[in-house]
Amino acid sequence: MIRNRSGLCLGIVLCLVLVFFSISMAQEGIPTDTADGPVLSRAVMCESIEGYEPLFVAVAFSINTGKISCYTSFENIKTTTFTVHRWYRRNELVTTKRLTLKSPRWATYSSIQLREADKGPWRVEVWDADDKLVQTLRFSVTD
């Protein structure tokens, strides 16, 4: 009798564990705009990327630099998702880059080639998969 009762308890506990597991598995599919979605841990503008790290972080870049990059790193990534980098020269959208983010932490970047006509103030908007603005990076392209 006691063995039967202990077997029932074990069955209930197992069921509860199964139910909890199935619920938690379902929650991973929730978009990243929930509090426990991807978190932007670093976002900088730089001249180049070496060894998955930004090199020469700056807010003003000479046109002679040739190429500049927007580096972003995310944490707390539960499932593969993406981020969008939108590059603006003053108020004009120049380019949009969609970048994949993979669990659990991921660093990614987008780059543009500078031309003579690109001088002036710029900004890069970092958006998440739910089209929510996460951060804006402001910089200038100079002589």
Binding site: E50, L55, F56, V57, A58, V59, A60, S62, Y88, R90, N91, K119, G120, P121, R123, T136, R138, S140, T142, D143
Partner: protein
């Protein structure tokens, strides 16, 4: 051909406005009044002479006689000045008219207040008694500056008084007596002597004085000779011997403007005034025609739009055009003298609503000088976007320019405040995402520090709060590039 001319004439007549008729008649009346006021004076003769000179000058110019035209122009300019100086007395007398009525519509009628009969009797007695006399009857000219000395008299005219004034025993008998109205106002006056050398030898000082005053004024002077008892009336340059009382009576009446009994003279006077009036109307009609209608000329002029009665809360965000082209016509004289500030296009914005408005430019919106006609407006309507300003909070971004010295890198920059509230047209604000500072040069930056920079407000209709109007603070961090090499 005849029909064509008739049509042209009818078109011309139908184009005449009531204002044009008033214009012609008003100026004709002014011209006519000037004629009436100055009639009989030398001013009219000189003005007529100048008008003739002007016609000759135009003819000379038309014929290409450059020097003649130039000389005549000079003479005309000089003559206009001379008229004012030489005829200052006449001009003053006209302008000093006692009342407005005399200036505007009265015909100068000299009232016969002066007792002519008594003067005639007195002069007859003086001549008969061989008593020398000099009597002055002024007309329009003021004699105060010409006649010197004398004693105030103010006695009513009578035969006896005239005899007593010029009686040998009287201390003032040698001078002239001045008669104004029914009184002898001054006696013993000294008159200027004439320097003429064509006067008869037997004329003494008394006659020379009479001629001298007549030369300088429009007064009538009666001189009675002591030796021969002869009487002469002198006016202007005319010396008229008076042989009997009747001729003296006529002479006085003519001078003093006594009612003219002669019907033919009255008729002649009316005819003269009628002719003058007709001449004035024709003259003005011709002048008006040459100014307002003659030689129709077309022109076009670009006129900037002016906005009136705008709701002070509203701002003009955009306009389809800033100026319109007006196609005008009028006489060559008017069109060539047209100045840009005489033509204006005013749009009344009192009925404007928030957003896009379409305004039709009507004739009421256009100000043009009288006599100039508006034919066409291009474009005839204007699209105007008006907005009540909105506010938006925007971040401030530094607009860096130039190049940092070799080996340095601008790592970070922080603007204080990071964002500010901007007021401006909502359409403009919607398109903006940031405010930029004036350009900040990197050329001379060598180490981290702070800067004060202005905000570049584009468009200028944007407004920012007072504390940030001049400057915002920028803190910047400069690092050496080599630190990255060390890391590596």
């Amino acid at each position: 051909m005849f029909d064509h001319h008739m049509n042209t004439l009818l078109t011309f007549l139908s184009g005449i406005r009531w204002q044009d008729i008033v214009d012609i008649f008003l100026n004709s009346y002014i011209l006519f009044r000037l004629y009436v006021l100055f009639r009989g004076t030398n001013v009219i003769r000189v003005v007529a002479g100048i008008a003739l000179l002007w016609i000759f000058q135009r003819i000379a110019l038309g014929m290409g006689l450059i020097v003649t035209s130039w000389a005549m122009q000079g003479i005309i300019a000089g003559a206009a000045l001379i008229i004012i100086i030489v005829f200052r007395n006449e001009i003053r007398n006209v302008l000093q008219a006692k009342n407005l009525r005399a200036l505007l519509w009265d015909f100068p009628q000299k009232t016969e207040r002066t007792p002519i009969d008594r003067i005639v009797e007195g002069v007859y007695e003086l001549a008969r008694s061989r008593i020398g006399a000099l009597i002055v009857l002024p007309d329009k000219d003021d004699l105060d500056e010409i006649v010197q000395g004398g004693v105030e008299w103010q006695g009513r005219i009578s035969k006896e008084m005239l005899l007593s004034i010029f009686w040998n025993g009287n201390p003032v008998h040698d001078g002239a007596a001045i008669i104004e109205g029914d009184r002898v106002t001054r006696v013993g006056c000294i008159l200027p002597l004439s320097s003429r050398d064509d006067l008869p030898q037997y004329y003494g000082t008394r006659h020379r004085a009479a001629v001298g005053l007549a030369e300088k004024s429009d007064a009538l002077i009666i001189a009675v000779s002591e030796e021969r008892g002869e009487v002469v009336a002198v006016k202007n340059n005319a010396i008229t011997p008076i042989t009997d009382n009747l001729s003296l009576l006529h002479c006085l009446r003519e001078h003093l403007g006594a009612p003219i009994q002669n019907a033919s003279i009255a008729k002649r006077d009316k005819l003269e005034l009628g002719t003058a009036a007709a001449f004035c109307i024709i003259c003005m009609a011709l002048i008006w025609f040459s100014f307002a209608r003659g030689m129709d000329t077309l022109t076009s002029i670009e006129v900037p739009l002016e906005y009136m009665n705008r709701d002070t809360r509203m701002q003009i965000v955009s306009t389809s055009v800033n100026s319109v082209r007006l196609y005008l016509s009028g006489s060559g004289t008017l069109i060539s003298s047209l100045r840009s500030d005489q033509v204006r296009v005013k749009l009344d914005l009192s009925g404007a609503k928030n957003g896009e408005n379409n305004f039709i430019i009507t004739n009421d919106s256009i100000v043009i000088p009288p006599g100039v006609r508006l034919n066409r407006i291009e474009p005839s309507s204007v699209k105007l976007v008006l907005e009540i300003p909105a506010t938006k909070t925007m971040p401030i971004q530094v607009d860096w320019v130039g190049t940092l010295p070799e080996g340095l890198i601008l790592e970070a920059a922080q603007v204080t405040p990071t964002q500010i509230e901007v007021e401006g047209p909502s359409q403009v604000l919607n398109q903006m995402s940031a405010l930029y500072t004036q350009q900040v040069s990197l050329d001379n930056l060598k180490s981290s520090g702070q800067l004060s920079v202005s905000i570049a407000l584009e468009p200028a209709s944007l407004k920012i709060p007072e504390p940030y109007k001049n400057k915002v603070k920028v803190s910047y961090t400069i690092a050496k590039r080599e630190k990255y090499y060390q890391k590596q």
